[in-house]
């Protein structure tokens, strides 16, 4: 079952002239706007109890997924985490089916069995997400191994939080990827926190980039705040991987505005300085990018995306829940 006709899978609006890097800014703005607004809608809908599963929001972190996926083909693969709305949307995942999945409906991306934590859309290379930290990393490396064995031109991008780097599995995975020079980009979204635990209380030593380099992997840290610069830096890393120069590691600095899980804010827990959060909100990447676009173009994008979102929610709400018999389906592939 596909989404409504209006909800095309890819972001297909034509590029327009804007001050700098026009087409790129427009595409990124559209992608980030969509992510931001979809998640704001989730916040709005959540108190209705229609979304009966944990949600991990990416508001504040939209730039990373948008910038990375802008360089990817539909035939490239991405692997992500339970904080996966942004990646799903940026890679061109079907929005109505995502909303239906959050509602637990039968026409959801995984017929309601997955919920927010396990978004998948293999048609666009969104390979799914895991709620066990770091476990998708080795799966992504395995996909890259398969691509290499098949002499494919596609690449894999693997997204994870800085908390995943704590796990031994990350190390085993990046070592193997480097050893075999696999076509993979490791994108670490460093938002400083794993739940309420600060990275400095978990990560010893000079930093993530140095860790990656100790596996012979070229690595860069990309600061938060300039989406177009981030886009450029990501682009050259991806190009290098496409040229078969072996894996790359990118530490993308970013920041989560909302609570670790759930739709709410988390100021009451006082685990992070309020000024830190306030500054990030003030320097909103989306707003900054929007200032680079002509107002009427921006309005056009907003209107188009709002229409898509409204249609998707409408479609999701209307669908049926899966039949009881489905509970036993798909334990095994047939």
């Amino acid at each position: 079952m596909l989404g409504p006709a209006g909800a095309s899978r890819r972001l297909t609006a034509e590029p327009m002239e804007v001050p700098r890097n026009s087409g790129t800014a427009e595409r990124l703005y559209r992608s980030m706007y969509l992510i931001r607004r979809v998640e704001e809608e989730i916040i709005r809908l959540y108190p209705s109890d229609k979304i009966k599963s944990p949600v991990h929001l990416s508001i504040g972190q939209e730039a990373v997924s948008a910038a990375v996926c802008d360089h990817l083909e539909r035939s490239d693969y991405v692997f992500g985490t339970y904080r996966g709305h942004a990646l799903y949307l940026a890679k061109g995942g079907d929005l109505p089916r995502m909303m239906a999945e959050l509602y637990g409906k039968a026409h959801g991306a995984a017929r309601g069995k997955a919920g927010s934590m396990h978004l998948v859309d293999v048609d666009v290379g969104m390979m799914g997400t895991s709620a066990i930290v770091a476990t998708g990393i080795s799966n992504a490396v395995g996909a890259a191994l398969a691509l290499k064995m098949r002499r494919s031109k596609a690449i894999v991008v693997c997204f994870f939080g800085e908390g995943a780097v704590d796990e031994g599995s990350f190390h085993e995975s990046i070592n193997f990827a480097s050893l075999k020079r696999l076509p993979i980009v490791f994108v670490c979204e460093n938002n400083f926190y794993a739940i309420y635990s600060h990275v400095k209380d978990r990560l010893a030593g000079p930093g993530l980039v140095e860790r990656a380099r100790s596996y012979g992997v070229t690595a860069d840290r990309i600061e938060d705040g300039d989406v177009l610069a981030c886009h450029d830096a990501v682009g050259s890393a991806i190009e290098a991987v496409r040229r078969d120069e072996g894996p790359r590691f990118l530490e993308c600095m970013t920041y989560r505005w909302r609570d670790h899980v759930g739709p709410g804010e988390d100021r009451q827990y006082r685990y992070r300085p309020e000024a830190e959060l306030d500054l990030k909100i003030k320097n909103d990447n989306l707003a900054a990018l929007g200032r680079l676009l002509p107002p009427d173009l921006k309005q056009l994008i907003k209107a188009e995306e709002e229409a898509r979102i409204a249609a998707a929610i409408d479609w999701a709400e209307k669908g049926e829940f899966p039949a009881a018999s489905e509970v036993r389906d798909h334990v095994f592939a047939d």
């Binding site: 599963s53 944990p54 949600v55 637990g104 209380d201 990560l203 899980v261």
Partner: protein, 355 residues
Amino acid sequence: MSLRTESERELTYAEAVFEATRSEMRRDPNVFVMGQGVDDPRGMFGTTLGLHEEFGAERNFDVPLAEDAMTGIGIGAALLGMRPIQVHQRMDFVLLCMNQLVNMAAKMSYMFSGAHRVPLVVRAIIGRSWGQGAQHSQAFHSYFMHVPGLRVVAPTTPHDAKGCLTTAIRDDNPVLMIEHRMLHGVRGVVPEESYEVPYGRARVLTKGDDVTLVGISHMALECVRAKHLLSEIGIEAEVIDPVSLSPLDVETIAASVERTGRLVVVDTGWLSCGASAEILARVFEHLDGRRAFVGRRMGYLPTPCPTTKVLENLYYPTARSIAETAYGLVRGKGAAEWQPPHADSLEVSEFRGPF
């Protein structure tokens, strides 16, 4: 459900866990808590909240996301006489530290002929409800029951939560304590003073002659509810909470089955090679043909856990499905259909997560 004893003070299960931890930390400076988020503002559902304030940051500390090494580190500290308590927010994560628990902790006493002991407590929380999905809802107590050298307890009441944890902390052996997320908010009478709940003693929660219902952890609550449903149609169920899964008190269960001739084991986990298989097999061996009986196992459906509520509702045994099963055993094949009324499990239906 609250088992009233002399004292009338009530605590939630989470508070009881907290109280046991705090009083053992006061009693023994070697006891400490380590785990992801144990010192954060939510304090592991309240079970470790603020312990670092009383005992210092060294005795209640956050750790990196590194289940394997952190378990090994706990074991290493235990070898030197410390008594670490480790907490896993979800039991699903213990799959990352099976090697340390099974290959190391469980074996060190034996492999080294008593030269080492491993006083380690691992608390593992089983998730449920609010769309936990396939990876945040699993229960692996049978994995630990399988392995000699480990003890496994699964207290249901706040009283037993406090007592089992106290016993576990004082034990010189590695102990897994299984906590069900749906139990954390349940209230019950808990004595203020310290006490130990012994291993290998099941609790008969209600008496009855028609059928024996064995309920593990949260399922003991559902069995008590099922018992009430059955009472209404004149069937008297004996409900037993094993409390300690390894060692298991097969005598108490078998004695009940010897009377009732009917056994339903209800687990919060899968059936195949699960705790319910073991309990059924043990009762069968124990009675050894002296007394014929019929038996059923209930637990998770043989599928991963679906996220959407409509399917998740089918995934777990309920008071109603337990009552139906027991009814079928008692009244036999020819009996009229009986549809028990719905019995609400507030701890499930009112749960809003987020986790």
